[in-house]
Amino acid sequence: MPARSVLSGVHFMNGDEAIAEGALAAGCTFFAAYPITPQSEIAERLAFRLPRTGGVFIQMEDELAAMAAVVGAAWGGTKAMTATSGPGFSLMMENLGLAIMTETPCVVANVQRGGPSTGLPTAVGQGDMMQARWGSHGHYELISLCPSSPQEAFDLTVRAFALSERFRVPVLIMTDEVVGHMYERVEIPEEISEAPRRRPTGPVEGFLPYKPDEDLVPPMACAGEGYRIHVTGLTHDERGYPDMSAEAHDRLVRRLCDKITRAPEAYTWTEELFMDDAEVAVISYGISARVALGAVELARKRGIKAGLLRLITAWPFPDDVVRGVAERVQGMVTVELNMGQMSREVDRVVKGRVPLAGVYHPGGRIHRPDEVLRGIEEVMACR
């Protein structure tokens, strides 16, 4: 496989393009997708770039196929990615589950628009946050990251590939139409370390493809390496063979969850602004966090000690961070472009310790700072 392509330097690009460049910088050499607004710029840039950098771009017949092709390409030894928006994300859920069950490293970007259904094809939304967590059937853990700017879209895409290799799990980049289409300065560093795939070291004979290392993640033998392994979406044992017992299922599902949840330090990122003396914390992510910051500044001007907790990692939810903040403040306001999804998690973690409010909008436009300010004032009033 070819060398990766790092476009080092300072650029003016939108969030979608930054995701595409982040993928190339991380060593992604396979991208399969189906066109959808507001994701198309990711696919279009990679359709242009990958054939010039030795990789493969393929436009599939639908998102079911795109996700399946990504899983196949990852087993073929590549770093593989797809990108979509709501309607396509729904179609990807089936093979996202296959990637989780077979422990296939891969990256999926969802440039969120307003839903349900075709909803608002060209306008912003954040309504797929719970789908990112629970959209495929069965119980599982995966990692989701939420960039608030094109620069962060680049950085988090690079990290997403590294995390997907380290944990052998799909990593979702849950961005949104505004970040995807917003043009800003993006600085691509000279050096980007490429996360290697964890390869088996022992002999082919007796190799157990699903025998985990100490961190519960097994090394991965890819196609053509001579291990002749069997990979199945059925519940399987360490040999990779189907085992339909409740015990085998318990062992597997528990390990798939534990390998992620036991290492939160590896993927939990949040940002706190004006939080040192804050009495009310605004919790937000993606584009909404930028509006929320404006509202925090507005509140400060009015003498309200507000601060912002920005979630960079959405899943697994940063329980400890949110709990810690809840212990320091007298109220919390969740701001998001849906009718209250991540706020359920805040509620779950805070357990009634402080009053909570939510500033919700189903999408189509971003919040106005004054709407968020009203939420801050509301929660201050119930102290």
Binding site: A32, P51, R52, E61, L64, A68, A69, G76, R228, I229
Partner: protein
């Protein structure tokens, strides 16, 4: 036909020991789940004999299946083998093949998997002329889930979801494959083991999208509900109606209940594969960059 005399011959002696193709099988997964009299074992054996006769390195073959009785093939071959999701074997194989262009990709799946839930993927994989070999075991119904009607169930066929006889027009798989652009198209019954092996050898050696339809008995479901007898009777029924006509006009290859149908090699043509076209573009770009 020798099979006609089967009732007069004494029951075959049960032979214990290794299958001659055991080196390509996951022996620790045998016994398999397939019913007695099912056509699947024969088709799998034909594939393994083809690999053996050609002397292809099994490390260079990936077997990819969807879900169904046929989909279980991937679980029994001792090669890189992927048991994916229902209908998605072809897009999975597309990704794997483009990541490993030198490997041979063999998709083994059922009629429902490849032509109902996976029908869209099938026509597009054929259109792209990906270098993938598809072996579709057509048992005229959904074996795995208990014998429901599917896209190849003949008119009148009785299935659990066509209790009054199927009244949906079925697909003619070889015609669909040819129309979608497959470079190689053949059909045999699972009785034609030598011809099956020969076809699979041709497919493994040639480039491009190759499609093999194997008409096979499912005595547990389709055979039983349509009073076709046990596995051998059902196989005999198909074999009796199969008429070899290589290069037949695909419009004449429909399978109609109770009538003769055509088997043979229908399409075998050279045309650039997806990968060759892709590499061609890459070379063009490289050329332009150098100039």
């Amino acid at each position: 036909m020798p099979v006609k005399a089967k009732r007069q011959v004494p029951p075959p002696e049960v032979v214990q020991g290794q299958h001659p193709m055991e080196k390509y099988l996951r022996a620790d997964r045998i016994p398999h789940i397939w019913c007695a009299g099912c056509g699947l074992g024969t088709v799998l054996a034909s594939f393994l004999y083809a690999v053996d006769d050609l002397g292809v390195d099994p490390d260079g073959i990936a077997v990819i299946s969807g879900i169904g009785c046929t989909g279980r093939v991937a679980g029994y071959v001792r090669m890189d083998s992927y048991h994916t999701t229902h209908g998605r074997a072809l897009p999975f194989a597309t990704g794997l093949k483009l990541a490993q262009p030198d490997m041979k990709a063999v998709v083994f799946s059922g009629d429902g998997d490849l032509f109902a839930i996976g029908g869209n993927h099938f026509i597009h994989a054929a259109r792209r002329n990906l270098d993938i070999n598809v072996i579709c075991v057509n048992n005229l119904n959904y074996g795995m889930t208990g014998g429901q009607a599917g896209p190849t169930t003949p008119l009148g066929g009785r299935c659990t979801t066509s209790p009054y006889g199927n009244f949906e027009h079925p697909f003619n798989l070889v015609h669909v494959a040819a129309s979608a652009g497959a470079a190689y198209v053949a059909r045999w019954t699972s009785l034609d083991v030598r011809r099956l092996q020969g076809a699979i050898q041709e497919m493994l050696v040639r480039k491009g999208f190759s499609f093999l339809e194997v008409i096979a008995p499912c005595p547990t479901n389709y055979g039983r509900r349509n009073k076709l007898g046990d596995g051998l009777d059902e196989l005999h029924h198909y074999a009796e109606h199969a008429v070899i006509k290589h290069g037949a006009d695909l419009a004449d290859t429909e399978i109609l209940p109770g009538q003769d149908f055509l088997v043979g090699k229908f399409i075998d043509e050279e045309k650039p594969t997806y990968w060759e076209m892709y590499q061609g573009k890459v070379a063009e770009l490289e050329d332009r960059r150098r100039r």
